[in-house]
């Protein structure tokens, strides 16, 4: 699939992927001026914007794979050391594509779900905030400037808090969940800001590549050994990032936020927000500190947290009475798999992480979409609402079931590929215990997924006369594209594995964009 874009656009791709949703979001607000049907116009506008963004990011990935050097875009033509430089390499081009795919499909999906779950007079505002959140997420991924990361992180976070709080139209608990998320998220972001501050103090620059070069120079001059500042900056950054990516035990904001948010928001946020957190961690750990600061002790601590996270969150998922909460706890566990992969710090481990970013995004996105479809038809996401729903919404629930298999890691689903690489990485290092935890996580996933599948297909509804319709096509198509992709990339993982390997080599060779 080759995308040919005119040269004038191609030169500006890195900035276009951010500007499209940023300005698109601001303009979407004006659809509120239309008295009736403004929400639908806002939706169509968002589909258009995210679609263009998807084309741009696909073209950008091609461009990056074709050229040996990363794409660099200097905003306002300032040299990177002074201004803000966007730089795109094999890692972030891949993450941007993942975010764009999810953003486009969830936007298509959102129409009916938002219509049912968000108050009528707020639809234009919903899509406006929605596009801004996407702009923030893409911006974090594309930028090569650490302070810019902080600003865009706050743009995406503030908008996501708002989106979660919009669930308050249906369930007031969404408001409390959003506030909890806001407080913990702001603490995380402020810790990241402090970490960046210490790095700025040390290196006098904000550009990631420059920071790395300065640190290398300091190490060669011998001023980095036992340097308290570099240690403190790393500590602040890791705590902040762990909060943002919901690594156990700093995951407490996540389950309620995902559960009470509007369905479309759950699908978008679960599939992208924490992944972008993981991406930031990659950048800080490998691009900035890689090769200059001994991170092995901290990575071991992360690996321990991840192992505990896999077990504890999976056990918690088994006991939940709300299907969305089961998926939310499962997300905490899946994030832990991603963290576990790169904390092993070998090539296979980082590859496993990068692959799982994509695989988990499509699986969890698809499953949250399926749950959202049930919420639309039955009005709830409690376990009771799912009793015997398989016979009434077979297409939706088949997608849910295939997605569940992906969470477990059944062969022929993409979840299997991730786990395969992860176990391999653990064995390369000789960590048999870690491999055992990964497998135990799979077993626990069987328990919580099977519990749902049994209720869905073999349960009897509380009210046998209640008939519900199959989900509308605008929901089924994006759902099945994601779930279908998870099966496709489980059978033929060439594309994901190659992209992930390229990204892993880049990270481990101290490469920076």
């Amino acid at each position: 699939m080759d995308i040919e874009l005119p040269e004038s656009i191609r030169a500006h791709l890195p900035v276009l992927v951010v500007l499209l949703p940023l300005f698109g979001g601001l303009l979407a607000m004006f659809t509120g001026l239309v008295q009736r049907g403004g929400g639908v116009i806002a939706w169509a506008w968002s589909v258009l914007i995210t679609g263009l963004m998807l084309v741009c990011s696909a073209a950008m990935l091609q461009l990056v794979h074709a050229s040996p050097e990363p794409l660099v875009y200097r905003l306002g033509s300032w040299p990177e050391a002074y201004g803000i430089g966007y730089s795109v390499d094999a890692l972030n081009a891949y993450v941007i594509l993942v975010v764009s795919i999810i953003a486009f499909l969830t936007t298509v999906y959102a129409k009916d779900s938002v219509m049912a779950e968000v108050a009528n007079d707020r639809h234009h505002l919903f899509y406006s905030v929605w596009l801004l959140a996407i702009a923030g997420l893409i911006g974090i991924t594309v930028t090569g400037d650490t302070f810019n990361i902080y600003v865009l992180l706050e743009i995406s976070s503030l908008t996501v808090y708002t989106l979660v709080a919009l669930g308050g139209d249906r369930d007031r608990r969404a408001l409390v969940a959003a506030l909890k998320y806001l407080i913990l998220g702001s603490i995380g972001a402020t810790f990241i800001l402090l970490g960046i501050g210490y790095l700025l103090m040390l290196t006098g620059t904000l550009n990631m590549g420059d920071m790395h070069d300065q640190l290398v120079r300091m190490r060669e001059a011998g001023t980095l050994a036992n340097n308290r500042t570099v240690f403190v900056s790393f500590a602040f950054l890791m705590v902040g990032l762990s909060l943002k990516m919901a690594l156990f035990p700093l995951h407490l904001w996540l389950p309620n936020a995902y559960t009470y948010a509007p369905s479309a928001v759950s699908a978008l946020v679960a599939a992208t927000a924490t992944k972008v957190g993981v991406y930031m961690t990659f950048r800080f750990v490998f691009t900035i500190y890689g090769g200059v600061y001994d991170t092995s002790a901290d990575l071991q601590l992360l690996a321990l947290c991840a192992c505990l996270g896999i077990v504890v969150s999976s056990v918690a998922a088994v006991r939940q009475m709300n299907v969305k909460k089961v998926l939310a706890y499962s997300s905490v566990g899946q994030i832990a798999y991603i963290v576990l992969g790169f904390s092993l710090a070998n090539h296979t481990g980082v590859t496993a992480s990068v692959i799982h970013i994509f695989n988990h995004a499509i699986i969890k996105g698809g499953m949250f979409m399926a749950v959202g479809a049930v919420a639309l038809r039955t009005g709830g996401t409690k376990i009771e609402d799912f009793k015997g729903i398989g016979r009434q919404m077979p297409v939706t629930m088949a997608a849910f079931t295939v997605g569940g298999c992906g969470l477990i890691g059944v062969p022929l689903t993409s979840g299997f590929i991730s786990k395969w690489y992860l176990v391999q990485a653990a064995m390369e290092e000789g960590y048999w215990g870690v491999a055992a935890v990964v497998l135990l996580g799979g077993v626990l996933a069987i328990v919580y997924v099977w519990r749902l599948i049994e209720i869905i297909w073999f349960g009897t509804p509380d009210d046998p006369n209640k008939r519900v319709k199959e989900a509308p096509l605008s929901m089924l198509v994006p759902m099945w594209i994601l779930i279908g992709a998870s099966v496709y990339f489980g059978i033929d993982a060439t594309w994901t594995a190659d992209s992930a390997r390229a990204a892993a080599s880049l990270l481990l060779n101290g490469g920076h964009g």
Binding site: Y161, R173, A178, S186, I187, G197, L200, M201
Partner: protein, 125 residues
């Protein structure tokens, strides 16, 4: 004297910690939001202090404003100061979103005390 030279950094950490304690210990949502603001303010002080130049022999830096050709450094670094303008905006918006959500909580629950909200949730389910 050495430790007194770090006075501003000590102060920044103290402010950050007071704010952090407030966020964790207060049960009133509005007080949590205020503490969060304090927490972020400490970081501003940290950054602003970072930009100020003082050479080992005690000469202070001057503001990098070109008013007088005879004025030649050392200059204070304006970059961290400029960054804080952005961070202040971010902090204000965070507070605004927080307060907006708290107002809605007050409307739906009739209280902004965390304990009472948890109790109300328990009654619901």
């Amino acid at each position: 004297m050495e430790s007194f030279g770090y006075f501003n950094y000590w102060l920044a950490i103290v402010i950050i910690m007071i704010g952090f304690y407030g966020v964790i210990a207060r049960r009133n949502l509005l007080k949590q939001a205020i503490s969060l603001g304090l927490f972020q303010t400490g970081v501003f002080l940290f950054y602003v202090t970072m930009g100020v130049y003082r050479s080992p022999d005690g000469t202070a830096g001057v503001a990098p404003i070109w008013t007088d050709a005879a004025k030649t450094g050392p200059f204070d670094n304006p970059l961290p100061h400029v960054l804080m303008l952005t961070a202040i905006v971010v902090s204000v918006s965070t507070l605004a979103v927080a307060v907006a959500i708290i107002v809605n909580i007050q409307r739906k629950y009739g209280t902004i005390e965390e304990d009472e909200i948890l109790e109300a949730d328990k009654r619901d389910s």
